[in-house]
């Protein structure tokens, strides 16, 4: 943003919420239910509500019952009651059914598209008088004179790649409010800045994450059993990598197929996208999908640190809720109910106290936290491998988390081993036939769109490292962990990409090429880069994936 910018236009609200996901929209709805005269705005970077939302998703309905009594008579467009749970362990060729863990008993829960659910929540918030602004990205924080958060700065639009104003240039406005609620979801870029600025994580473990990849398929009618929920662990991951798959059977012959892989994996050559594709080609899964077609696809990071990694949730002028805070229950593989509950709790706290002060204590005192406390040791238990993790999970489940111990979380980026230190294990991955062929073919189903002539929103803080140390030490893992093929190492002379035979007279150099227009806003690079030199910032509002029913 240019220094000479003229004074920005300002809009004032009582509460500004960043992010129209389940947490932000529930918070907005609750605020207006409790105090209809409150001026509430929700800012959302996606062009349409729900277009950047990607989740499984099986949800617990209790918080929705509380927020919108009667919602079951007017359910979201995709909402199938769970009929049957299945949990299995996969080897490269076989499948063994296991007892479903109690946390994954989904009786009474619903399979939804979280994107469609948000699209369904938004007009209900608008009917209550909430102003929702999709297509506008909160690019920066507005600080008041005393250093507290005083609102957000909307990103400028119509800025060229070189940072110059195009004909369509439009300066972003500032939205001021006594209270800003950050509901950006996992690894929100403003939340990240504020956690650092106010040292909100001073007393918590490092945060830990996973990457989730998902495809929505339309399959042959005989392969879809609406209400069936399938999960698996094991292959195609090795025993030191935490993760697993999901297949949720929706209505209209649709299957939500996905794979989640913890980002504390050690292998610098590991490819999460390929793991997902391998899973789909497992002999027990492939027949389900054969003859079908992909409707939509994408990826999103998940926040898995739980209680130990939960930062302080309040700072002067602002609160963190939902996955921006990190409230997901990992053993349940669910965060939506926690997001909705935290949004509602923030709303009632704010209305009661006329202020966000004390929200951190209120949330830690609530059943949201009690739920996280009970399962706090299960995810870190898997840091010692699959089998010891399962044993820890059994112990912690039987004792309901009452043992006087809390296992530690570690930072994902520091878990990656150098090439020289990692001994590759054979994962028995084979050739595969189902689409998509590769990551570019997959991005096509995300319908992601960025104006190419805008500043690159993936900032490399020390680009020299990419072509020197990283090549040697890790072989540029960004070219593999990114599910959208954003990062590519190319050889050229200067800026021109040189084709075969074009290298005459000059020195060929390796260079990191960032195809930022492919980005699906999953945030994996910001998390997993071993040098922590990739900084994800928001591109022009309205850019990014256009997910349908993910």
């Amino acid at each position: 943003m240019s220094e000479t910018a003229t004074e920005r236009e300002v809009m004032e609200y009582d509460v500004i919420i960043v992010g129209a996901g389940p947490a932000g929209l529930s918070c907005a709805i609750r605020l207006k239910q409790l105090q209809p005269d409150l001026m509430v705005a929700v800012i959302e970077k996606s062009a349409e509500i729900g277009a950047h939302i990607l989740s499984g998703a099986v949800i617990e309905p209790a918080p929705l019952d509380e927020l919108l009594p009667g919602w079951r008579d007017n359910p979201p467009p995709i909402c199938v009651a769970v009929e049957k749970d299945e949990f299995s362990y996969l080897t490269s060729t076989g499948k063994r059914k296991l007892l479903t863990p109690p946390q994954q008993n989904n009786h009474g829960n619903f399979i939804v598209s979280l994107g469609a659910l948000c699209q369904w929540l938004a007009p209900q918030a608008e009917d209550l008088g909430v102003d929702i602004f999709p297509g506008y990205a909160a690019a920066g924080i507005h600080f008041t004179a005393d250093g507290s958060v005083g609102g957000v700065i909307i990103g400028d639009m119509g800025v060229s790649k070189a940072g110059e104003h195009k004909d369509t240039y439009m300066q972003g406005i500032e939205i001021h409010a006594p209270l800003t609620i950050l509901a950006e979801g996992c690894r929100g870029h403003l939340s990240k800045q504020l956690i650092k600025k106010f040292s909100l994580d001073a007393n918590s473990d490092p945060q830990t994450y996973a990457i989730g990849l998902k495809e929505l398929w339309r399959v042959k009618p005989e392969n879809c059993q609406p209400g069936k929920v399938q999960h698996s662990i094991g292959w195609p991951l090795d025993k030191n990598t935490y993760g697993g798959s999901f297949i949720y059977h929706l209505d209209k012959d649709r299957l939500a197929v996905g794979f989640v892989c913890a980002l504390d994996y050690e292998d610098p050559e590991f490819k999460p996208f390929e793991a997902f594709q391998q899973f789909k080609n497992h002999p027990s899964i492939k027949p389900l999908l054969e003859g079908g077609e992909i409707l939509s696809a994408g990826s999103r990071a998940l926040i898995e640190g739980g209680e130990q990694s939960l930062p302080k949730l309040e700072m002067p002028g602002a609160l963190l809720i939902g996955d921006a805070a990190g409230l997901m229950n990992v053993p349940k593989i669910k965060g939506t109910h926690q997001a909705i509950k935290s949004g509602m709790l923030a709303a009632s706290h704010v209305v009661k106290n006329r202020d966000g002060k004390g929200f951190n204590a209120a949330l830690r005192d609530s059943d949201i936290m009690a739920e996280l406390h009970k399962v706090r040791n299960i995810r870190p238990g898997f840091n010692k491998g699959l089998w010891r993790g399962l044993i820890t999970a059994v112990i912690e489940t039987v004792t309901a988390g009452k043992l006087p111990r809390t296992l530690k979380n570690h930072a994902d980026w520091s878990a990656m081993k150098k090439l020289s230190e990692y001994e590759a294990s054979d994962r028995h991955w084979g050739t595969r036939e189902l689409p998509p062929r590769d990551r570019l073919a997959s991005v096509y189903f995300a319908a992601t769109e960025h104006d190419e002539d805008q500043p690159v929103h993936l900032q490399i803080l020390e680009p020299d490292i990419c072509v020197s140390r990283c090549v040697e030490e890790y072989d540029n893992p960004c070219t593999r962990f990114c599910p959208a093929n954003v990062y590519e190492m190319v050889e050229d002379m200067g800026n021109e990409i040189v084709g075969e035979g074009g290298g005459e007279g000059g020195e060929m150099q390796k260079r990191l090429q960032i195809n930022s227009a492919n980005c699906v806003h999953c945030k994996t690079c910001d998390i997993k880069d071993p040098y922590q030199i990739i900084n994800w910032v928001t591109p022009e509002g309205g850019s990014g994936p256009n997910y349908q029913n993910l």
């Binding site: 469609a116 369509t168 409707l295 319908a447 256009n546 349908q548």
Partner: protein, 248 residues
């Protein structure tokens, strides 16, 4: 002078179009909908004309159910002064749409009607031409440049052979092409202002327009899927493979 601009709600250009499995139409379930991009260019041009002091009012018109109010509100947020929704749930064809526009034209008496050259869903490119004929006024289609000179307009048209410049008497119907302008971004406070701008709803049935369709659609089908290719080792194998397929 008033300018009338047509706005159509269409499936967004970024969305991958999918045909319903029974072939009865396009799947729009959960699909992002937007203003037809050519209509956005038409509106941008109208706003620039008004901002240059050559028009007093810009009116956006759309035919459709209440869902098309979303696109009309976007038009108002871009800067249109008021909006008219011709309320109908019927899927209409260009002649009926042109007939409905004519009724609005007769009532509003605009000096200029600016439309997109076509909508990206039906790709008909007929409504503007039909409206000009029904209205018995000049038309200038596929405009890439538009200059107003009082009683006339000079329009540069994108035609197969290159560019063609014509002059038309006003009032006239102008349909616009991609290169005419780049539409503006909507300013966030203008979204709030747009909520207070007038949006009139007129039932299509009250306009007295025949809505009989001239065309019947039998079925929709996606284009055939590209067959999987093979990698050849050298030119000789390429020739051999082409020969076995009878292609050379």
């Amino acid at each position: 002078m008033k300018i009338l601009v047509g706005i159509k709600r269409v499936v967004d250009y970024n969305v991958r179009i999918r045909v319903k499995s029974d072939g009865s139409g396009i799947d729009t379930d959960g699909v992002k909908m937007s203003i037809n991009p050519f209509d956005e260019i038409a509106l941008e041009e109208a706003l620039r004309i008004r901002e240059a002091g050559n028009a007093e009012e810009v009116i956006v018109v759309s035919l459709g159910g209440n869902e098309c109010q979303q696109q009309l509100r976007t038009g108002l947020a871009m800067g249109a002064d008021r909006a008219i929704q011709i309320d109908t749930d019927e899927p209409l064809q260009p002649l009926a749409i042109a007939g409905a526009f004519l009724k609005i034209v007769e009532k509003e008496q605009p000096g200029l009607v600016i439309l997109g050259k076509q909508a990206i869903d039906g790709d008909n490119s007929q409504t503007g031409q039909m409206l000009a004929a029904l209205w018995d006024r000049p038309q200038a289609t596929f405009a890439s440049e538009l200059v107003l000179n009082g009683e006339t307009a000079t329009v540069t048209r994108e035609v197969d052979a290159g560019l063609e410049t014509i002059e038309v008497d006003l009032p006239a119907v102008i349909t616009v092409d991609l290169r005419l302008n780049v539409p503006r971004f909507v300013k966030l406070p203008d979204i709030m202002k747009a909520k207070r701008k007038p949006l009139d709803v007129i039932a299509l049935s009250d306009l007295g327009v025949t809505t009989d369709n001239q065309l019947k659609t039998n079925s929709y089908a996606p284009p055939p899927v590209r067959q999987k290719g093979i990698m050849v080792e050298d030119a000789a194998q390429l020739v051999a493979e082409l020969k076995t397929r009878g292609l050379v």
